[in-house]
Symmetry: C2
Subunit: 193 residues, 2 copies
Amino acid sequence: MFDLLLSHIQNKVDLPEEQSNQIQTFFTYKKLRKKQYLLQEGEICKCLSFVSKGLLKSYTSDEKGNEHINMFAFEGWWTSDFNSFINQEKAVLNIDAVEETEVLMITLDDYERLMLEIPVMDRYFRILYQNSLVTKDYRLMVSNSFTAEEKYMQFALRNPEIIKKVPHNLIASYLGLAPETVSRIRKKWSLNT
Amino acid sequence: MFDLLLSHIQNKVDLPEEQSNQIQTFFTYKKLRKKQYLLQEGEICKCLSFVSKGLLKSYTSDEKGNEHINMFAFEGWWTSDFNSFINQEKAVLNIDAVEETEVLMITLDDYERLMLEIPVMDRYFRILYQNSLVTKDYRLMVSNSFTAEEKYMQFALRNPEIIKKVPHNLIASYLGLAPETVSRIRKKWSLNT
């Protein structure tokens, strides 16, 4: 259950064996059915969650009930409404399971205590957040300056496994494109539908 | 010269006296005239820079030569083209001085060495990046779901010192608004021009 989390940490920092065991005590395991909420808009996001199996999506809903995808969280990814988690304010995001999913959850208190007790975890999260900032900057740039076709093709080239696994309408929503636009681009480039 | 940087670090983490002295050896001081570039699009962003005095802005330029403000960096803020710095790829941002400015610069090698030699700096940057992610999420949400008036008034309420100090056309660019829109909103709310 903890293998993926521990290997994810060990890929970024040196983690002694005894600390591997200690880390596990900070997390709670939860299994979600397909479509089950991990977080609903308006709640306080109590935990930062690591996806050990499955796939989550986070999104906002508009007045018409349309979902606008904020991000996907695959196996080995972290997810939360980060502002809600860090500042314990009301969440603006919903997070639910695209398929049956398993998560390892840590509360804010335990997250702070984890880094005080195992300081190398500061390094782990520093590297994680550093990468996340680079990705967000790239996404903001793409969103401001790329055409629909450039957006989709850049995304497809950088995330071949997501393109295979995630329904096209969700990817369209993530990229802020109409589903018909994505169909047209896929047809033009002869991508299997 | 290092007082602001050291107090910024000490506000977030416990830093023993001898490490305060050691940290200073990792940085290079640079003074910029008004309008002088710290970084130009297409260069590799060699350093992460801490503003010890003055004000920088980072921006992209479109084909017509219009500047689109990415962010401001005030005294006590860090700035860079972060992807260019971390991955040593070509910068997409320009960074220049809005007024006479002094920066403390650290190269990528020294940044990595700093955290290996003074591990509490991992904690400092973890907290810094954590706050930055929260801010970026908020900015993305504002950009996607607020009206022009909401954008400006939210920004003005959260950043009164920026509103006072930065020319209105730069703030308009940062918020993705036309300068005339900002003038109209300021007039409506009877803000001094």
